[in-house]
């Protein structure tokens, strides 16, 4: 297990370094003047030079590269172009608020979609199965902001069950916050239900056809016992991987949801940064999402290795 852990952490660090390099290349892909790009074509030359100096964008590219790599590993992303505030404090508090929304979404999505996946797999190719598969396909292919806008108009405007502005006032109790967060979280539940349900369904169908499932049934175990003791343990590996990947990808969709509900999370912070061309904030937020992705997939791989000894022995070799 230790060998497996070391290997996996090393590969995560390499990926993180490459990720930081890609982000650096994107930001610096156009040769030229960051200060000029931000201040516009009519700003005086001296002002642009002073701006570049303040940001450090007048230093040689290689020096800037090393700084930006160091920043990923020390989590120090410099200061915002716009407010001069420390980027780390801006994006971490925003990440916390997005995390709350995301956590609520996952707490609802995971049990529902795994149950739906198992339900569909047991009725393979029957009507109930087709319904789960097709609803899953449709719901996961609609952009989150579309679902969010439709849910907002139905639940928050028409039935007045939730709030149009999802920011709970400071000091709201955890239960009180649900009134604000539940409808935006539902938009994400709808988006992620399909992937997880379909993956669970595929895993369970595969395991149901296996020899060990037949043996377990033949020796007289009930269907529920076979499912719990034999099938799920084997079938949930891919599902866990999909969930961990979705935790990172969620931040792509959450931007739209946060915009629709005016929620002050990481997505809204990024959109403000886009409007102001505040590249350090944008860069920091993107890298932070990358780090979240690395951590969640790492956790998933360890969990799978823990559940399934075949995986950890194979990789450690």
């Amino acid at each position: 297990m230790r060998r497996f852990l070391l290997k996996r952490v090393a590969s995560a660090l390499i990926t993180l370094w490459l990720l930081a390099t890609i982000v650096f290349l994107i930001v610096n892909v156009l040769p030229g003047d960051v200060g000029r790009k931000i201040l516009g074509p009519f700003a005086p030359k001296e002002e642009v030079a002073a701006f570049n100096h303040r940001l450090g964008t007048d230093r040689p590219l290689l020096a800037q590269y090393f700084t930006s790599i160091r920043r990923v590993f020390t989590l120090d992303f410099g200061n915002s172009f716009q407010s001069g505030q420390d980027v780390k404090s801006i994006i971490f508090s925003a990440l916390f608020r997005s995390g709350k929304l995301a956590l609520l979404a996952f707490v609802i999505t995971i049990p529902i979609s795994i149950a739906a996946g198992i339900f569909a797999a047991r009725r393979q190719d029957k009507l109930a199965d087709r319904v789960v598969v097709n609803v899953g396909l449709a719901s996961s292919s609609i952009p989150e902001f579309v679902t969010a806008a439709v849910l907002l108009s139905i639940f928050c405007v028409h039935w007045k069950l939730g709030k149009v502005f999802a920011n709970p006032p400071p000091g709201t109790s955890v239960i009180g916050q649900l009134e604000y967060l539940l409808v935006p979280a539902m938009a994400m539940v709808i988006a992620y239900f399909g992937y997880i349900a379909r993956m669970t369904r595929a895993g369970v169908i595969g395991a149901l056809q296996s020899d060990y499932a037949r043996t377990a049934t033949m020796k007289g175990l009930s269907d529920n016992q076979v499912m719990r003791r034999h099938i799920l343990r084997n079938a949930l590996g891919p599902t866990i991987t999909v969930i961990s990947v979705q935790i990172g990808y969620l931040f792509g969709g959450i931007i739209g949801v946060e915009k629709v509900f005016n929620y002050a999370g990481l997505g809204s912070t990024m959109l403000t940064a886009v409007g102001a061309k505040d590249i350090p904030v944008l860069q920091g937020a993107v890298l932070l999402v990358g780090i979240v992705y690395m951590l969640s997939t790492l956790a998933a791989d360890l969990l799978i290795a823990y559940l399934n000894p075949r995986v950890r022995l194979e990789t450690a070799r």
């Binding site: 982000v23 579309v146 806008a149 907002l152 061309k277 993107v286």
Partner: protein, 319 residues
């Protein structure tokens, strides 16, 4: 891919003609009468059979119908819209009624006309981005799978790093630094799709590489580029077509999201994502039609493309 143009299979539909065309053997090289251990005519027959199976699936028929409707709207644009999509002469925020079935927006423009004309932006940008992304991905994936070794190892790491970020997020960063235009959006989405496609193609190439027909081509002393693109490519065309249809769906999704977030085409153009972005602020006042109809348009197109992709996938993966 030297000269595969669709010169003979004109009767076949476009996606499959693409597949078929690259399988056409070189007229001079008699050795290619057999590709992948099967005579060409049999392969053609298998392809026709697949196409027949795909065509019969209800999800394919529904998907194609919806895409065709939007395609007609995109092609004809304001020649068939009831009003001009840019005409702001009528009363703002009229609710849906006889002459404005979808109502009017904040500046009195007809929502129905704008939704119809808005199909053009997304149908221009998304398929192009998907095709380019698949093209880059096929080339890189072929090289990764065929050359292998250090090149494959390094590229695999880079692909993994790309996959660690949601496409929308990194596209937003890129479009902010590059400035937005149709071509920037197409290019950025295509580049961000490349790693995923490359990974799929790589794994299909890996399973082909050890087969006898590749070994014998190697022994014949064929050039690497010939083996890759004339021998292996036709045999991995199935997964590539599946990937292409799936990517078109994702591209519509991504482009709509980007334009909702303000990184799409500039304001006057009747883009669906931008219309939702204009409309959602007045939802609280009960004005739902300026948001709902463009949102429904996005949903219908994405679902339609995914229905097509799903039916292509289930037929090609079963065969």
């Amino acid at each position: 891919m030297s000269e595969p143009t669709s010169h003979d299979e004109v009767t076949e539909p476009t996606t499959l003609a693409f597949a078929a065309a690259s399988e056409v053997p070189e007229p001079a090289g008699g050795v290619d009468a057999v590709i992948g251990g099967q005579p060409v005519s049999e392969r053609k027959q298998a392809r026709r059979e697949n196409w027949r199976l795909i065509r019969r699936r209800p999800s394919f028929i529904i998907g194609t119908l919806i895409v065709t409707v939007w395609g007609v709207c995109a092609l004809l644009g304001d020649r068939i819209t009831p009003h001009s999509p840019l005409d702001y002469r009528s009363t703002p925020h009229l609710s849906p009624r006889g002459d404005f079935p979808f109502g009017t927006d904040a500046t009195g423009r007809d929502v129905l006309s704008r939704v119809m004309a808005g199909a053009r932006d997304v149908l221009k940008i998304a398929p192009l981005a998907a095709v380019l992304g698949v093209l880059f991905g096929v080339v890189i994936g072929m090289l990764m799978g065929y050359i292998g070794g250090w090149f494959d190892l390094g590229m695999s790491r880079i692909v993994e790093a790309f996959l660690a970020l949601p496409v929308v997020l990194i596209a937003l960063l890129a479009i902010t630094t590059l400035g937005s235009s149709d071509w920037v959006v197409i290019g950025v989405v295509a580049v961000l799709f490349t790693p995923v496609v490359a990974r799929t193609v790589r794994s299909s190439v890996l399973s082909e590489r050890s087969l006898d027909y590749v070994t014998s081509a190697n022994l014949r002393g064929e050039k690497r580029s010939f083996i890759m693109f004339r021998e292996i490519l036709p045999n991995v065309m199935g997964p590539i077509i599946v990937e292409l249809t799936v990517r078109v769906g994702y591209a519509v999704f991504t482009v709509a999201t980007l334009s909702f977030l303000g990184a799409g085409p500039p304001p006057p153009s009747p883009d669906w994502g931008a219309q939702v972005s204009d409309g959602y602020r007045v939802l609280g006042a009960g004005i739902w039609w300026t948001t709902f109809f463009p949102a429904a348009a996005i949903a219908s197109l994405v679902i339609a493309v995914n229905l097509i992709a799903d039916s292509v996938q289930s037929v090609l993966e079963a065969s």
